[in-house]
Symmetry: C2
Subunit: 318 residues, 2 copies
């Protein structure tokens, strides 16, 4: 009959920082923080730094005991062993992240791919756990995916499932960073979108965008391309429309294959709004099978940046 | 302590016939048969004919009681209601197949998409239920798919999941029969392969194939294209290679998304063998993520035509 709360710690390890969150066992967010991490050090030193950030965070929150830690990290993760097999962003190969973190923190640790964490977050937060099947797409620099089946994260045989960003939708298309051709990511990931814009800029096909880059002195980004489109740059408008159609093909594939109740979009590119989403949804409706297309609810997550770190914490509540 | 066996009836409704099977509750095949069905009649009359075929089959096998009937049928099926929402092959719209069959047979009936039945069959037979996750592709006139997750058929929200044949792999590509562009089926389904060969024949690009059609007086088919390739027809060889690459892209998508232990191929086109499979497997290996590609075992089903009808029966054992 204890009223003492169970606290759970979540962490989302990005390329330059670590996001941290504390949730209670009902899933409510109590505290969150973001701290820089220098990934240029040796992996074990990086993990020691992470552990120290987490300890300091707990101290600042006056919490001295947590049930465990869930960690999301970009790359190919073995969730059973808590091993980061390969993380191109962090430059890691076969780093035993769970073992290292346990060494420094002495609490139960779960390690999971960051897009899988976002899917768990979307299931708890956007869907309020009130659905059976959900697909989450994280539209950032790359495109990640996570799949919830029967209310649980679907990991596949080696924990590698859900790489929807590396689904081929144009099999003779652009070379993706993974080596494959025509992956969703190579077209609708921020790097793919930027590449298309760079090609147009070289050919002087996007004058308003060009002017905007000069004026703002900012690096080319989806946000700038959005602004250019809104200022009437014809190329930028076409690019968003085309990206929307390509996203629509990805959604349509998800609908035909998974027939999910929900598809939740997150990540920077999802914030572009209707420039991207209107053609995406129209394409999904015209391409996918009627009944599952009518059934699925596609939304942009309301929890943005916190989806991954909170989802990582929820892993311990699954 | 009864030694009396439980018998289960399975049926696979094709466009011109009904396949029937009886299995025991350990999954062993006891009897099977195939009978023609005239689908031009009213649906309720067609179902009455089916029921009569099944009754006669049971009588011939001296079995007067079965635990139930599982039915596989091509098209969009609502397995909860046992409703055939749409079956282009049979020309059916919203036919309450389960209700009709129960009316005539008075036994429990389960209705399922035929490719989903094949996946259940592949799980029981090819994988001997000794795996967690399996994807089955039926490579026939069309391309069907079925997904086993955690040892169970994954149906999705409205029972429409698993339409891997209608996964876009060439989003600006050929128009598929479903209305979408560049579906797997439009490229690697028998109708898509035949269409490509017809285009080449019109342009006189496949002389050996042309001669073969004239000599055998057979209709153009994957089998003839296979023979032409084996006789050295350059176009036919290229077509199989290209089809293999396209199948490889589908496999690669399945690997990156599902990370399955097994992928089982079945259907007429899968019998073409290495002309198709060698490029398919090479493409999968070069395109998919390394760890899941190394883990998956891809095989052609040993149970061929019986996969669907036996899988339909196994639905009652799930």
């Amino acid at each position: 009959m204890s009223t003492r709360k169970n606290y759970i710690l979540g962490a989302d390890c990005g390329g330059t920082n670590i996001k941290m969150a504390i949730v209670d066992d009902s899933g409510r967010l109590l505290h969150s923080d973001l701290q820089p991490i220098d990934y240029k050090k040796q992996p074990i030193q990086v993990v020691r730094d992470m552990a120290q950030r987490l300890k300091n965070f707990l101290a600042r929150c006056n919490i001295n005991r947590v049930k465990g830690l869930g960690v999301g990290i970009a790359g190919d993760v073995d969730p059973h062993k808590g091993l980061v097999r390969f993380s191109p962003n962090l430059g890691w190969n076969n780093v035993p992240l769970k073992e290292y973190l346990f060494k420094f923190l002495r609490i139960p640790v779960l390690v999971e791919n960051d897009a899988n964490c976002a899917a768990v977050g979307a299931y708890w937060l956007d869907a309020r756990r009130d659905c059976e099947n959900l697909v989450c797409l994280t539209l950032g620099t790359g495109v990640g995916g996570g799949i919830i089946v029967g209310g649980k994260l679907y990991r596949g045989t080696t924990g590698s499932a859900g790489e929807i960003g590396h689904m081929t939708i144009d099999y003779n298309g652009r070379r993706c960073k993974c080596g494959n051709l025509g992956c969703a990511e190579s077209l609708i990931g921020a790097w793919g979108i930027i590449l298309s814009a760079q090609e147009a800029l070289k050919k002087n096909q996007a004058p308003i965008l060009k002017k905007l880059i000069r004026e703002t002195n900012e690096k080319l980004s989806p946000k700038l391309i959005e602004q250019a489109a809104k200022k009437g740059d014809a190329f930028s408008r076409r690019l968003w429309k085309q990206t929307g159609v390509q996203l629509g093909c990805v959604l349509s594939n998800c609908v035909n294959i998974f027939n999910p109740e929900r598809i939740v979009l997150s990540g920077g590119v999802s914030k572009v709004g209707n420039l991207l989403l209107a053609p995406a949804l129209a394409t999904m409706k015209s391409r996918a099978f009627k009944v599952p297309a009518k059934t699925v609810k596609v939304t942009v997550s309301k929890y943005g940046e916190k989806l991954g770190v909170m989802g990582a914490a929820y892993l311990l509540l699954e």
